[in-house]
Amino acid sequence: MVDLSIDLNGLDLKNPVMTASGTFGYGEEFMDFFDVSRLGGIMVKGTTLKHREGNPYPRMAETPQGMLNAVGLQNKGVHYFADTIYPRIKHYDTHLFVNVSGSTIEEYVETAEVVNALDHIPGIELNISCPNVKEGGMAFGTSCPSAVAVVEAVRKVYKKHLMVKLSPNVTNIAEIAKAVEDAGADSVSLINTLLGMAIDVKTRKPILSTITGGLSGPAVKPIAVRMVWQVAQVVNIPIVGMGGIMNANDAIEFMLAGASAIQVGTANFIDPAVTLKIIDGIEAYCKEHGFAKASDLVGAMQA
């Protein structure tokens, strides 16, 4: 038997496979396809203090082996989440994380405080890397001082697992990861989407209402793996890797590069039960290659 469990800095995941924020709703949308309790973790949709309508339609463009999105954190606000959605999903037998976003440090802090009070939410993922909102979002994640400021502020009020989600739209992601670790993060997750754009040559207009959007999917995988590997060289906290994971081999690539766990995003749209296949595939790989524990894969690349 392969031991699939992962110790994420004190948080015990039943396996390394989580779902990525904004691509898995609140898990409920997937219940028809499989029992989401089998997952290592679920990252719920990007949540802000107040209700947000998100960006105007069109919000999506297909690109070579990838997609651009410009959803813009549409959500009903953290209080609605706590009051209405949380009671519906808190019984899932897996770790639920809330992906927390804000336009100001105060908003991040206030949102984190609300989530801190929810018993069945063992952690948050601080989204300092959303490229699809005008204020805040990615701006916090692209410089060390601003990243540190928001992490330190949230750390003061948030008592559970604090995962910080990094932006790939930076010159030196390792530097930011290190700064965020020093500021008190329990783990880092990466990558969020890369800023991209697509133009419809027939109409000569940008396809997205916001002109630019966030690129995800297999196209970004080589960049994401590289960033995970770079970050793994400098931080001591666990890394949660993502970006274009479509199957177990992709997931294993991230783990070999240094990720303790992985998140699956865009792939959920194409195969809603893909995460189960990835869990089974990691198990099969461990068996075939003689790993007793999935955690032995972490950083096992031979450079």
Binding site: E53, G54, Y57, P64, M67, F269
Partner: protein, 256 residues
């Protein structure tokens, strides 16, 4: 309504003309319940530029043979690949998705379609007929060649047609057809699916005459089942997903 992911088998590919194909797809077992207005998300794997699934309306259902019909218009690489499916090929689908046309309170029903938007109207017509309502269809196209699947519609009700070049039916757009130009139309309910410009004039006409009108949107989708929030339409209650809250909306609910 429970959703599934299944491999269907292509048992027939009928080409209607240079741009339209009707695919007959067979479920490996018993087809689960589905409603008119719902759609499927088809996986088209073998193209370098087709990454996401493609949403396609349920054109018709044959419960006895466990088959589903899709009416596909070739407009890009994904639909081209679909139209190239051959007998015996496999087609992976997530289904059934979305809400559905609501059954009418009153019997005088008009279904207005254009382009591939006629697809869900056939299934709706069949269910109406099964409920004792004989609908009227108003189908528009650019030319005679664009008026497809007429025989299937004729089995379910009266079929009116318009063509822009006047080669068949009334000359002009659907809105120019006599059935939509009377001052006191004998219609209680309209269902419409097609190009947005067409649906907007139909909805406006319906509004002017206090006719209930349901429109089916074809927004671009990444997932089709409520996970990505990419497919929103602006409604009186803010942004709503066309894949879960839609694709069918009351026309008055949309911010058009």
């Amino acid at each position: 309504m429970k959703k599934y992911v299944d491999d269907f088998k292509v048992i027939k590919n009928e080409r209607l003309n240079h741009e339209y194909v009707v695919l007959t797809l067979q479920h490996p077992g018993k087809l689960p319940p589905m409603l008119p207005g719902q759609f499927v998300e088809v996986r088209v794997d073998n193209g370098p530029n087709t990454f996401l699934r493609r949403p396609i309306s349920i054109h018709d259902i044959d419960e006895e043979n466990n088959t589903m019909l899709l009416l596909v218009q070739e407009i890009g690489e994904g639909t081209q690949l679909m139209c190239a499916l051959k007998e015996g090929d496999t087609c992976n689908m997530v289904y059934p998705l979305g809400n559905s046309f609501a059954m009418p309170d009153k019997p005088r029903v008009l279904l207005v379609g254009g382009g591939c938007g006629i697809a869900p109207l056939l299934f709706m017509g069949r269910r109406l007929k099964a409920n004792g309502i004989e609908p009227q269809f108003l189908l528009g196209a650019r030319t005679a060649e664009g008026l497809i699947a007429l025989d299937a519609f004729k089995q379910l009700g009266t079929v009116h047609t318009t063509t822009e070049d006047g080669s068949v039916g009334t000359k002009g757009f659907v809105i120019h057809h006599p059935v939509m130009r009377t001052q006191t139309p004998d219609i209680d309910q309209i269902y419409t699916c097609g190009p947005e410009a067409m649906m907007k004039v139909v909805a406006k006409y319906a509004g002017n005459h206090n006719i209930k009108c349901q429109v089916s949107l074809e927004n671009h989708m990444a997932c089709g089942f409520g996970a990505c929030l990419c497919c929103v339409a602006e409604t009186l209650d803010g942004n709503k997903c066309t894949c879960t809250d839609g694709p069918v909306f009351d026309s008055t609910y949309l911010k058009w």
